[in-house]
């Protein structure tokens, strides 16, 4: 009896799940360098991704939770970090006269935000607010796959019968399928220092890697430590099991 009811319940659940999946397509799974328990961030993609962020995304999207000094953890030298920071201006102060002033960013500063506040950002973007990108891959389901698919899957025209609102763009993977952000990436939109050809797919791939790092800068250390901890606990547990058997054998 239990078996029959269980079978019916499982069938009902499967029927419901498949019906639901038709709503929002799951972005195709990609093979990221940072997947899996040994995953690391591809350093070259990271460097190229930083270029894409600063010259494209950074024009509208802030990265408030990441500081320039954090780049040291992924192989940037101190001088490189200083040079990257110095390209940006941040507001500081008040100085001894009580005035706010502008200065070049330092490694300790967070990435310079494109707008001073949300109102300014909305005013410059026809009323929409470009979200901060510090946690974007963690704040979406299958974040990296989603971000990559969203960036490359813009369509020039919405399918027949789809009501596209004024000033919106059709995007298969964005919730609601329309997005206020114009297609951000164009072939050769940035110039890569390492000479890689800047195709749309390449730029989307690189900036996704960069933003995945921005969201989880601790990931490499976490996985490295995790492997050591798990090996230790597994060996310890095996020995505890042997000891348990030995102690309990006195009873039999």
């Amino acid at each position: 009896m239990v078996g029959r009811i269980l079978g019916a319940a499982v069938a009902a659940v499967i029927a419901v799940t498949t019906a639901n999946a038709a709503e929002a397509p799951r972005a195709p799974g990609q093979e990221w360098s940072f997947d899996g328990i040994f995953g690391t961030y591809d350093r070259n993609a990271l460097r190229r991704g930083l270029t894409v962020y600063t010259s494209v995304c950074g024009a509208c999207h802030s990265l408030d939770l990441v500081a320039y000094r954090h780049l040291g953890a992924v192989g940037y030298t101190e001088d490189e970090i200083k040079a990257i920071a110095a390209e940006f201006e941040v507001e500081d102060g008040p100085d001894e006269d009580g005035e706010m002033f502008s200065r070049a960013a330092l490694p300790a500063d967070a990435f310079a935000a494109p707008f001073p506040n949300e109102q300014a950002a909305r005013a410059a973007n026809s009323g929409t607010y470009p979200p901060d990108l510090s946690l974007i891959t963690k704040a979406r389901k299958h974040g990296a796959d989603y971000l990559y698919a969203m960036l490359i899957e813009y369509r020039d025209e919405a399918p027949d019968g789809f009501e596209l609102l004024d000033g919106m763009y059709y995007n298969e993977y964005f919730p609601g399928r329309q997005i206020a952000m114009p297609p951000p990436l164009f072939e050769d939109g940035v110039k890569y220092a390492d000479g890689t050809k800047a195709t749309v797919a390449q730029m989307a791939w690189d900036v996704t890697t960069f933003l995945a790092w921005a969201a989880e800068p601790e990931m490499e250390e976490r996985k490295r430590l995790g492997i050591k901890v798990l090996i230790f606990v597994l060996v310890l547990t095996a020995m505890l099991y042997a000891l348990k058997r030995q102690i309990w054998s006195r009873l039999h």
């Binding site: 939770l65 963690k138 704040a139 979406r140 919730p175 969201a215 798990l230 505890l240």
Partner: protein, 418 residues
């Protein structure tokens, strides 16, 4: 059970004035334990260890966290990015909550299967139910602290439930909020209570253990220990068995913490709370979804009582009914091992809980609504109707005279394999 004599003069001096060493010896070393406990009996001590891990990691988090709506989200991210091993402490705490509930739910179902709540262990069981209530309140308030979207909206939905109270509902909700919406005063008090309640749980655990040590552990046969042959000393037999079990639990716990720290959470909680944007699906953490499913199962008014009020009452009753279990169960036999009918319906109940868990995690539409209603109906039908009835009509199998006789005869199906 001999009185220990302490050779160390300092230990002897202290013990003569405060017999803490003798007490420990009696309760943790000599303590007579049934010889036939299976691995389901590991989960009580595991819950205790996880509670300690939660309190320790929680105190370290509290040193770096800022309970203010403007800074809470950023302070959690500062812990993740700039505090030394802050990510480890925070992920241990975050996943520790899930592990705690998983362990406690297994512990509860074990009690349900083997009839551990029956006389003379009713108070022991009731304290356990109180602990689960406190855990739910604690975890709910803790979930609000990172001040993400799901934090804010879960707080809004759950506190709003109290508006269903007749006449004074609105006043109660405003009193809970400390204002007219979930805002800074709400976050402040949730933080204070989230810090306090674990110590209340700790005190309840102490009472739970005290009550346990009066009549000692139940066991898979459900017959009381009746002689030296039935029991073995807690140390070394159960100290080593519990430690081995802890090792297995840590593999699972660390597996989540280091390699999939966010799979049990909602991505929306990495978006800072925004009272102007409602997430498309507001869902509680997985360990609370069964109760959320019960809440939403009531979609109809009964006479003049509104559906919302009935839903809230049903949700609290789904745990509250467990308080009465010792008196609802009419069977003279404890262990389901000897109860062929109860056993079947028990496993149906487990499946039912899984269905409720799944329904609660999904939006209330289409098939989920009748499925949730059916599962809710069985939940209460089993606990309130079936358990008393089965006790009357079931014909239990023969129960052995003692633990020792069953173990030596090899009749106990739950006997240790080692």
């Amino acid at each position: 059970m001999s009185q220990p004599t302490w050779k160390n003069p300092i230990v002897a001096w202290i013990d003569y004035r405060l017999p803490i060493f003798t007490f420990t010896h009696h309760e943790l070393v000599d303590y007579p334990t049934p010889r036939n406990l299976n691995y389901w009996w590991n989960f009580g001590s595991l819950a205790g260890v996880v509670l300690v891990i939660m309190i320790v990691t929680g105190i370290y988090l509290a040193m770096h966290y800022t309970p203010h709506t403007d800074y809470a989200f950023a302070s959690v991210e500062r812990i993740m990015r700039d505090v030394n091993y802050g990510w480890l402490i925070r992920y241990l705490h975050m996943n520790g909550g899930s592990i705690f509930f998983a362990v406690v739910y297994i512990h509860l179902l074990r009690g349900l299967y083997y009839g551990s709540y029956k006389a003379p262990r009713e108070i022991l069981w009731i304290i356990g139910v109180l602990i689960i209530f406190c855990m739910m309140a604690t975890s709910f308030m803790g979930y609000v602290l990172p001040w993400g979207q799901m934090s804010f909206w879960a707080a809004t939905v759950i506190t709003n439930l109290f508006s269903a109270v007749p006449l004074v509902g609105e006043e109660i909700v405003n009193w809970l909020w400390g204002g007219f919406s979930v805002a800074n005063p709400t976050l402040n008090r949730f933080y204070a209570l989230h810090f306090l309640l674990p110590f209340v749980i700790f005190a309840l655990v102490f009472l739970h253990l005290w009550a346990l040590h009066v009549h000692k552990s139940n066991n898979p046969l459900g017959v009381e220990m009746s002689g030296d042959a039935d029991s073995i000393p807690f140390h070394p037999y159960y100290t080593i068995k519990d430690t081995f079990g802890l090792g297995v639990l840590l593999v699972v716990y660390f597996g989540f913490t280091f390699f999939a720290p966010n799979v049990l959470g909602e991505p929306d909680n990495y978006i800072e709370a925004n009272p102007l944007v409602t997430p498309s699906h507001i869902v509680p953490e997985w360990y609370l979804t069964p109760f959320y499913a019960v809440l939403r199962a009531i979609t109809f008014d009964i006479w003049f009582i509104p559906a919302k009020l009935i839903g809230v009452v049903a949700m609290f009753a789904s745990i509250g009914v467990l308080f009465f279990l010792p008196w609802l169960d009419t069977s003279p036999v404890r262990s389901a091992t000897f109860r062929p009918v109860y056993k079947q319906f028990f496993w149906l109940f487990v499946i039912d809980c899984v269905v409720l868990w799944y329904v609660g995690a999904n939006p209330p539409e289409g098939w989920f609504i009748p499925l949730g209603q059916f599962a809710t109906a069985y939940y209460f039908f089993f606990l309130v109707i079936l358990i008393p009835l089965i006790g009357f009509f079931e014909r239990p199998r023969a129960v052995p005279d003692s633990i020792a006789s069953a173990v030596t005869a090899g009749a106990d199906p739950h006997r240790e394999q080692s």
